[in-house]
């Protein structure tokens, strides 16, 4: 980090779009407040349009910011991290304070564009999707709240703001999953999502606290030595990512065999795993599909669930310095990506398939980050690249699924079929998305997946590469499966027969996303985000990576075509008998939910909660009640004094005064 950008920021000569970037999160917040406090109570019908308008303003502003940023620091050169709009928010102690502000660097700008674009398109799509819903106003208000929180998270310059927005994102996700609050399954799904992520957030909080503590303790020394630039605060990313800080922390004695840098980062990784639904904390994401489909597209595919990935990417220098957490991340990512892909092959609910697919792709991203190292940061670029492209095609898939569900009134792919003719625009866009996620050139998924595989291979993680390649075959298979079952063949139900194309307000976002799904991969991402420019500067197709990957994708597609084109029930049953009991296990999602349930019921409820509750009810409450009883008894005896007689009081007062005078006289006077 050179001194120049800081001087630029201080002299206030940055372009307006960067100086005023704080407007980007605040615009949706304004929309939330305006909608929630004014428009909704007034029952104004154009609330959705207003909500979308605020997000559109954010989108335009963030695009302007991207243009301004890369105008100042052209692609391929060094990209500094700027902080604008900083205010001192929470002064805790002298030397320990937390600020608010907007952090501008390529990573946050990437997320900014993704969040704003997808959020705006989802807003647009929702205007059509939710047109007849009585809770429309509430929906859009929550959507604005979510957008605000997510943007605040992305732009956070320190861990605390990130944490606050992280929880806000969780809260709005909770609200939106439980949007149909009269449906018991939605309510329990929202509770499940909230509790599971809260559980993981405990790790995040602990990690945050320990990092902030380390920062607080080490900052004065580092500043005195001139190792870090002045003006940093304890939880600032700029400090946490600073090599001098890593050195200082690694110099401290390790704890339980882990360095003091790894420990908090592992805790942070736990939070990230919860939010990004990594194994074994993934159980909330499939259930979260109870929310409205656009919500799934926005929150549970493109934005919120990538917050974990973003966190790791944000602190990547720290992770790279610690190494151990990255290995864990790689393992976790690989495991989740394979595991979820396998389950996805067996599900019949279109949204669940997409949800497991999301899990799998998130695992992919984490895997990519995990294989990156300080001296070989290609994985970092690749993970974020995949995050970028995945956001578009996965939200496209969800929105397409939403259109289909809207038309068919069912989530079950076996009740669809033959939609190719009835919903041509949806079909085209869905097909583009399926091909993009399958990784066929020249669509977006191909390039990002290519980068990931390359990163794994070149980083020397052969096992991980193998798993990734396997998943590269599985992904096209299950995606093609749902595509073929839902769109191909003939209609399998009455509603599917009567399905028709969605209105333009819904198809336009689909087509826009389809366009993005095609083009997003053509960006030379390494020039924008790359950490080591010498190594990853050459962008292009690496045939040693691309050929096996494309072959795997084609294999998956072919298998799906073989099994699901026309009436192929016999072949499927043969395959199922080949798998034997394993098929049942897969179908039941490896019984992870049941294991958790057992753990929660037997261990937590019976073993921990019940004794604590007993203690609380008898001992703690007993003490409180005893105090209450005592004071009541005392009060009851004292009420005898309170006769309600004015003159009685006057007499007591007089007598008391005289007693005081006498007492004081004896005490002080004497003579």
């Amino acid at each position: 980090m050179t001194a120049a950008p800081e001087m630029l920021a201080q002299s206030g000569r940055l372009p307006f779009a960067l100086e005023a970037l704080w407007l980007v999160p605040l615009l949706p917040l304004a929309g939330f407040l305006l909608g929630g406090l004014v428009l909704r109570p007034l029952k104004l019908r154009w609330l959705p349009q207003v909500a979308a308008g605020f997000v559109l303003a954010s989108l335009l502003l963030s695009l302007a910011a991207v243009k301004a940023f890369f105008g100042l620091f052209p692609p391929g050169s060094e990209h500094p991290a700027l902080v604008t709009g900083a205010i001192d928010w929470l002064p805790v102690l002298p030397g320990l304070s937390f600020g608010l502000g907007t952090l501008i660097d390529p990573v946050s700008l990437l997320l900014l564009v993704v969040v704003c674009t997808v959020s705006f398109l989802v807003h647009l799509y929702s205007i059509g999707y939710m047109a007849d819903d009585p809770g429309k106003a509430r929906y859009f208000v929550f959507l604005n709240l979510f957008t605000f929180s997510m943007l605040g998270l992305v732009l956070a310059p320190n861990l605390l703001q990130l944490f606050v927005c992280w929880e806000l994102v969780g809260a709005s996700s909770f609200l939106l999953i439980g949007f149909y609050f009269d449906k018991p399954s939605a309510v329990s799904a929202s509770k499940k999502a909230f509790i599971v992520t809260r559980f993981a957030d405990l790790g995040l909080l602990l990690g945050l606290l320990s990092l902030a503590w380390l920062g607080f303790r080490l900052l004065p020394g580092l500043q005195a030595a001139g190792a870090v630039p002045p003006g940093l605060e304890a939880a600032d990313f700029a400090l946490l990512n600073h090599p001098a800080f890593h050195e200082a922390v690694l110099a401290l004695p390790p704890f339980v065999g882990l360095s003091l840098l790894s420990l908090p980062l592992l805790l942070l990784l736990m939070g990230a795993a919860g939010k990004s639904a990594m194994f074994p904390l993934h159980i909330w994401l499939p259930d979260a599909m109870e929310g409205p489909t656009p919500v799934s597209a926005l929150i549970h595919a493109a934005t919120m669930v990538v917050a974990g990935i973003y966190l790791v990417a944000r602190l990547f220098p720290a992770f790279a310095a610690a190494v151990t957490p990255l290995e864990v991340a790689a393992f976790l990512g690989a495991l989740t990506c394979l595991f979820a892909a396998v389950i996805a092959c067996s599900q019949d609910d279109i949204k669940r398939v997409l949800a497991f697919s999301t899990l799998s792709q998130l695992g992919y991203m984490l895997l990519a980050l995990g294989v990156a190292r300080a001296d070989h940061a290609l994985g970092h670029t690749a993970g974020l690249f995949h995050l970028f492209t995945h956001a578009f095609f996965k939200s496209l898939l969800f929105l397409g699924a939403g259109a289909v569900i809207h038309a068919v009134h069912s989530n079950d792919i076996w009740r669809m079929g033959g939609l190719r003719k009835k919903m041509p625009l949806t079909h085209i866009s869905f097909l583009v998305a399926v091909l993009a996620i399958a990784g066929l050139p020249p669509l977006a998924g191909f390039f990002s997946k290519d980068e990931i595989l390359r990163a794994a291979l070149e980083g020397g993680h052969t096992t991980v590469y193998g798993i990734a390649l396997a998943v590269a075959a599985l992904t096209p298979f299950y995606m093609a499966r749902i595509y073929l079952v839902a769109f191909g063949g003939t209609a399998r139900s009455e509603s599917a027969k009567q399905a028709h194309e969605a209105p333009a307000i819904m198809t336009i976002p689909l087509l826009l996303l389809a366009l993005l799904s095609v083009c997003a991969g053509w960006l030379p991402m390494a020039e924008y985000i790359g950490l080591d420019h010498g190594h990853a500067a050459h962008h292009g197709i690496h045939w040693n990576i691309a050929l096996p990957a494309t072959a795997a994708a084609l294999l998956g597609l072919a298998l799906a075509g073989w099994l699901y084109t026309g009436d192929r029930r016999a072949r499927r049953e043969a395959l199922a008998s080949l798998l034997g009991p394993l098929g049942g296990v897969i179908r039941n999602k490896f019984y992870i939910d049941e294991i958790w349930l057992f753990f929660a019921r037997r261990v937590i409820f019976r073993g921990i909660s019940a004794p604590i509750a007993w203690f609380d009810r008898t001992v703690v409450d007993g003490a409180v009640n005893a105090v209450g009883w005592l004071s009541r008894a005392l009060g009851a005896s004292l009420t005898l004094l309170q006769s309600g007689q004015l003159q009685g009081y006057a007499s007591w007062m007089l007598a008391g005064t005289m007693a005081l005078v006498l007492g004081l006289g004896m005490l002080l006077g004497g003579n």
Binding site: T639, Q642, S643, Q645, Q647
Partner: protein, 106 residues
Amino acid sequence: MSFFPVGIQHWLLLCLALFSFGLYGLLTRRSAMGLLLAIEIMVNSAAVLVVALIHLLHPGKLDGQLSALFFIALAAAEVVLALGIYVPLARSRPSGDVTQLNDLRG
């Protein structure tokens, strides 16, 4: 202490006596109006006391008179408010007997 000349102690004792009469009235009266009368005696005696003390300790200093002015204003305010409370009370109750007004009994 002799009868003449009249000094601080004479004034103090006079005011004390007046105050004690007021006190007696305050403690014995049953009617709210009677209480008010007694309180007026007490306030007045206090005001006289302040004026007398300042006058005798520091002749010509106006603080005593000024505070007595405030006393009088306060007493007027108090009476007005007391009557404002008393009149509706007396209308809504069978009598203005304060010993019957014990709704706040614990």
